[in-house]
């Protein structure tokens, strides 16, 4: 009887531990993703490089989307301002897609994403002569992961100095 009671208690304690630890890890993962994604658009900074101080080099997209988010437009305005100041610099916009689509469609999607960034730069006074566009489709992911966070980092248009 006593033995079994102890046994039961231990079990209970063990179970509580398990539940607690499960909660802890789960919570952590959720906040991680929450901190780095809005909807399914990447909002983190882990992969971002800078063209100059305060000028991020890339913008991110939702699945299957080419629409620029508020944050993306802010990034592109900073890029446009920097390009206006450095009128000798030309750029290549590299459009990318995540791995969850067929290769050929993703090539087109990457091209469309880069062009949506290009259009925005042009409305802020950057001549199309200074911007070229290339799509890599899903061929050049920055994150090799097979999860929503990795995919969100890979759906991007990156502005790269061409000279």
């Amino acid at each position: 009887m006593i033995l079994s009671k102890i046994y039961k208690n231990t079990l209970l304690i063990l179970a509580t531990c398990l539940v607690l630890s499960a909660c802890a890890t789960k919570k952590q993962v959720v906040t991680d993703i929450e901190g780095q994604m809005q909807g399914d658009v990447y909002t983190g900074t882990e992969t971002v490089e800078y063209l100059a101080d305060g000028v991020p080099d890339r913008v991110f997209f939702a699945t299957n989307e080419t629409i620029l988010t508020t944050a993306s437009r802010e990034t592109l305005r900073a890029q446009a301002a920097w390009l206006r100041k450095n009128s000798n610099i030309n750029v290549v916009l590299e459009g990318h897609a995540d791995e969850r689509g067929t290769r050929e469609y993703n090539l087109a999607l990457g091209e469309r994403r880069a062009n949506s960034a290009k259009d925005y730069l042009m409305t802020y006074g950057i001549s199309s002569d200074r911007i070229s566009v290339i799509s890599y489709g899903k061929e050049r992911p920055v994150d090799a992961g097979s999860n929503p966070l990795a995919w969100s980092k890979n759906r991007r248009s990156v502005t790269v100095k061409a000279n």
């Binding site: 067929t102 290769r103 050929e104 469609y105 090539l107 994150d143 992961g145």
Partner: protein, 447 residues
């Protein structure tokens, strides 16, 4: 009595559907395959020595019969019996089989043959026997250069397959594909070509630039593909024999998703500019370019019907990728995929009655087929990621590529070629030296 075997075969070919209802995975590729014996091709001592010198193969007769055996086995339709059980010597069997002996080991068909070295050439004769009827069904002989010995095995396989199924074979064929190496974030990709069974693998590009989606022309001598040479993604043409490469889609933008027209005279491809992808054709003789679709959406992955009158493609004009068909001049565009999910990479079957496709639904990728009006959708295989089906020349088998899911650290990525029968059975890994993707199946090289 010849009919006997034929009837057996009919029973064996048609009931796939019936079996599909009751059988599950266990029977995949093993639906009562026809037991048959491939006797090693007999060879005299002098010929044996000559070939040993030239080809460095101890017994070319048995090497060829092994090729035949492997081909027939991988088709899933035949069960080549273990040679240890054979009672009759190869040379005598080829003259006149003792049918009782072959019957005893339950062989229903028997392949025998003879190899000889004649005037620096390889001369092969082979016979196909109906064991139950005790009759010869077919006898053929041919001569070729010794280095062609593997093709001899493939041609014999094709002849046997055709005689026993009533359909052309697909063994004397090649696969062009993209060989992949290196980490997922920096994949090195090269064009590669190999025999259908994985032999004679050859890399066609060095891997200095990214290459994608190679496709054969109807005679399988030319390949069209996408190359990032000088960082300009363009459609290229490659002559396999000479190695000559030339750019064909040199427009100010990206050209991609190329395929040949069924007469081999045109290349159909997508051209992306200013965020818009449309379908174009280029006449290879006069380089005349024709715009086929004109829509603000993404139109890509075009594929001609075998008679050249229609084009299947995928477009996101409805909001998501779906499959459409149109006349070859771009008129009469009709959406044909209406199932749940996203549809892409339509490829018209060589028989003209089916379209193979990739489907994404609820996070899973499927390879499937539907009729050309979009009805009769059948999903053949489900996986984490797979796409880009390509038909065997007889329209019985599809080859495609499959990628694995990586773990939390981004490790464990691989890309491999797989094949599956149109029936949904006989799913097989196609062995390649490196990782592989974007396979394209050639036409039959002989005939």
């Amino acid at each position: 009595m010849k009919k006997n075997l034929f009837i057996l075969f009919l029973i064996f070919l048609i009931p796939n559907k019936a079996f599909a209802l009751i059988e599950v995975d266990i029977t995949r590729g093993n639906l009562n395959p026809l037991p048959l014996a491939v006797s090693p091709l007999s060879i005299d001592d002098n010929s044996k020595k000559s070939f040993e010198n030239i080809l460095k193969k101890e017994n070319i007769g048995s090497e060829i019969s092994i090729i035949v055996e492997n081909n027939l086995r991988t088709s899933g339709l035949f069960n080549p019996l273990n040679k240890d059980a054979f009672l009759q010597a190869p040379d005598i069997a080829n003259l006149k089989p003792r049918f009782e002996d072959w019957n005893l080991i339950k062989a229903q068909a028997l392949i025998t043959g003879k190899v000889r070295y004649v005037d620096d050439k390889l001369r092969v004769e082979f016979r196909l026997w109906d064991v139950l009827a005790a009759k010869e069904m077919m006898a053929l002989a041919f001569t070729t250069v010794p280095s062609n010995w593997r093709r001899v095995g493939h041609i014999i396989s094709d002849k046997v397959y055709e005689r026993l199924t009533g359909e052309k074979g697909y063994f004397d064929t090649r696969i062009i594909y993209v060989a992949e190496e290196g980490p997922k974030t920096q994949r090195k990709k090269r064009l590669a070509i190999m025999d259908q069974d994985g032999a004679n693998n050859k890399f066609l590009t060095l891997g200095n630039e990214l290459v994608l989606t190679p496709r054969f022309n109807p005679t399988s001598q030319m390949v069209t593909y996408l190359s990032y040479f000088k960082n300009l993604p363009r459609v290229y043409l490659l002559d396999i024999e000479t190695g000559t490469q030339e750019v064909v889609g040199d427009f100010p933008g990206m050209t991609f998703a190329p395929r040949f027209s069924p007469d081999g005279k045109k290349i159909i491809m997508s051209f992306a500019k200013d965020g818009k992808s449309d379908i174009y054709t280029m006449d290879l003789e006069n380089r005349l370019v024709e715009k086929i679709t004109n829509h603000p959406s993404i139109d890509t992955s075009p594929s001609y019907s075998p008679n050249g009158k229609y084009i299947a493609f995928n477009s996101d004009r409805s909001g998501y990728q779906q499959i459409y068909i149109m006349r070859s001049d771009g008129s009469d565009v009709k959406r044909i995929s209406f199932g749940n999910g996203i549809y892409g990479t339509p490829v018209w079957s060589p028989r003209g009655d089916l379209i193979a496709f990739t489907k994404l639904h609820k996070g899973k990728f499927y390879i499937g087929v539907m009729r050309t009006d979009g009805k009769g959708e059948r999903l053949l295989t489900e996986n984490y990621y797979q796409e880009a089906p390509s038909w065997s020349p007889n329209g019985r088998v599809l080859i495609f590529y499959r990628e694995t899911k990586t773990n939390a650290k981004g490790e464990g990525f691989s890309a491999k070629l797989w094949s599956i029968d149109l029936t949904g059975y006989n799913e097989r890994l196609v062995e390649t030296q490196t990782d592989a993707s974007d396979p394209s199946w050639s036409s039959l090289l002989s005939n």
